[in-house]
Subunit: 367 residues, 2 copies
């Protein structure tokens, strides 16, 4: 790897799109113009040609293997992000006389609810409003009504910085938006009918959504909608119903290979716990200087949100962090404060250095 | 530019994804890992950060300028390809008591019709079936019924190799799928309410659809559908409602800049006419050895389809063309034969060499 590239590299704590493994970027760059001596770039190739078909198949195989997804599921590569899935899930799964429960855990859950309301009968199975969206519900807090087809959850709220410490155990199948902790922890597949998420956090560049769908439900899905919106079509056509987002699928495959070479999903989960532990540790050891509004059991391992004693100190922190090459630490504009997103590709070294920076900043800026 | 890259470059006649300007690929490669000295790749950056916002704004401005799009239109960058537009157009534009006419000109038009039927009342305004989809209709052949909201056309059929020599003149607004000749010729904007297309032919890598929508119709669109499917939301949020396909937008901007530096859309149209002329000339001068099934006035300037005297000769042609580094000339699997796709980025030199190859092949393989 080119030394000047490594030397100029920053620690990018963006919530997404976000940092990717440097090794993957360097490899993709090297083969960008002339892919495997073919005389053309991969992005110039027919998606039905042998080169891309191999890339596509490998990415599918890796996605299932890295996520330890059982054979009962199909993996689909789609476009439109998790946001289009907010529409597709109810359009496909909800028919006459069936409804779905939605956990309202914050900004992303609200989006899913807003969209689902247009395409099916849904109800709020738990609402985090009273607790200020600072925690996820326990299983016994979630209301499941009769004729419920599925319960929709948002496994990690990127803006609120909360996640399910324990996956819900309810008497209906789960459907989950996993976007901001996709393949950063294993999931209990037997509880799910469908999971989805954009890849632009843990897994690749923006422009690709990955859906895992239980094969047994495909035949019974709604067929009276346009073909791009139908999961059964995408299953039947192996995600090649129309031209797939070639470059994003290719990058996903490379990131998955990188993950596998580093121990796979268990290693990612453990690293995430260590990285999150460094930052929550710095917060908890600060005598209230840094405050995380999230209840301990729901603290995200991907998006660590925290406040400083004043907005003036938050601005100063951001400014000095930027000069120290810790970038994109500003909290979402809807909630303010700070947020460190520490997805799979964020090196532990970067998080350790940020924790040190937090301690130094506190020492230099007492209240 | 690296000499070995140029030396190994092939002529890629793929129908899409397809050849892109080599200069653009080389430039993108150079800045791929460390974008403008920022210490990160563009694909790692927040889509709301200054770098990508600048890329996004420039691509929008260029798209409107290169296509000579008047201020009465908004440009949108979406995902899901032209195929998702098959659904979004009727979902947004057709309400109670309104219907739409669709010209059935071949494979892609049929797709648009299939999907629109699920989301609105539509009728076939002209059907190319009787003429074997070898020509487009004239304006007076197109039936427009009462209460027609729009007429949908497919400006170029990639598989059949036909295009509208003259744009239809009808008493209702046009909606057009321009995918396979997007920005390869100017359009009479005053006749259109909306045009759309994937960029993976003339304009960039797969994973991005560009929509131009007349501003005056936005307020009256259907609002009772999920937000990703609503044009008014994307207009309101400037195509940043959710995470856009960053890399594809970036590449689109580079290709548009390349087009503008080479004279813009008029130069592209003229080059396309010259390139198509070389191949149709080779066909017409072959005493029936090469046959193009398309009627002269409807011959595509983007996808030149032709047959040889036998399937055995077609196979031999493909084989020898491949050895001579003319790649991806096989016709679509649904129709057979050969097809040379000669989009904006295909050099005239490549088409001239293919025309010469056709003459030599004919001389060497008489019937």
């Amino acid at each position: 790897m080119n030394d000047s590239v490594s030397a100029n590299r920053v620690y990018n704590f963006s919530a997404g799109p976000c940092t990717l493994p440097l090794e993957v970027l360097v490899e993709a760059q090297a083969e960008f113009v002339d892919y495997q001596g073919s005389g053309m770039s991969l992005i110039e190739m027919s998606h039905r040609g042998k080169h891309f078909v191999a890339v596509h198949e490998e990415a599918k195989t890796l996605a299932k293997r890295v996520f330890r997804c059982p054979d009962e599921f199909e993996v689909l590569f789609l476009q439109g992000g998790a946001t289009l899935q907010f529409a597709m899930v109810p359009m496909n799964l909800l028919g006459e006389g069936r409804r779905a429960g939605y956990v309202n855990s914050g900004s992303w859950a609200k989006g899913a609810i807003t969209d689902a309301q247009c395409h099916g009968e849904i109800y709020t199975a738990w609402d985090g409003k009273d607790s200020g969206y600072t925690r996820m519900p326990t299983s016994d807090e979630i209301e499941i009504r009769d004729d419920t087809r599925y319960l929709h959850i948002t496994s990690n709220e990127t803006i609120g910085g909360i996640r399910y410490g324990e996956w819900p155990q309810v008497p209906v199948p789960l459907v989950a938006d996993l976007s901001s902790e996709y393949m950063a922890r294993p999931i209990p597949w037997e509880r799910f009918d469908l999971v989805y998420g954009g890849v632009q956090k843990n897994l690749g560049p923006a422009g690709l959504a990955v859906v895992f769908i239980r094969k047994a439900i495909v035949e019974g899905l709604n067929k009276n909608i346009a073909r791009y919106l139908r999961y059964d079509i995408h299953v039947d056509k192996d995600s090649m119903f129309n031209t797939p987002p070639v470059f994003a699928v290719y990058m996903l495959g490379k990131v998955l290979k990188w993950m596998e070479a580093r121990g796979g999903i268990d290693a990612m989960e453990q690293a995430a716990a260590r990285k999150a532990g460094l930052l929550y540790g710095a917060i908890d050891a600060s005598d209230g200087y840094y405050r995380c509004p999230v209840e301990a059991a729901s603290r995200s391992h991907m998006n660590v949100v925290f406040r400083l004693p004043s907005e003036a100190l938050e601005a100063k922190f951001l400014d000095e962090a930027g000069k120290a090459r810790f970038l994109n630490l500003k909290g979402h504009r809807s909630v303010g404060g700070l947020r460190a997103s520490i997805y799979n590709a964020m090196p532990e070294q970067g998080v350790a250095e940020l924790a040190d920076f937090m301690a130094s900043f506190r020492a230099a800026n007492p209240t």
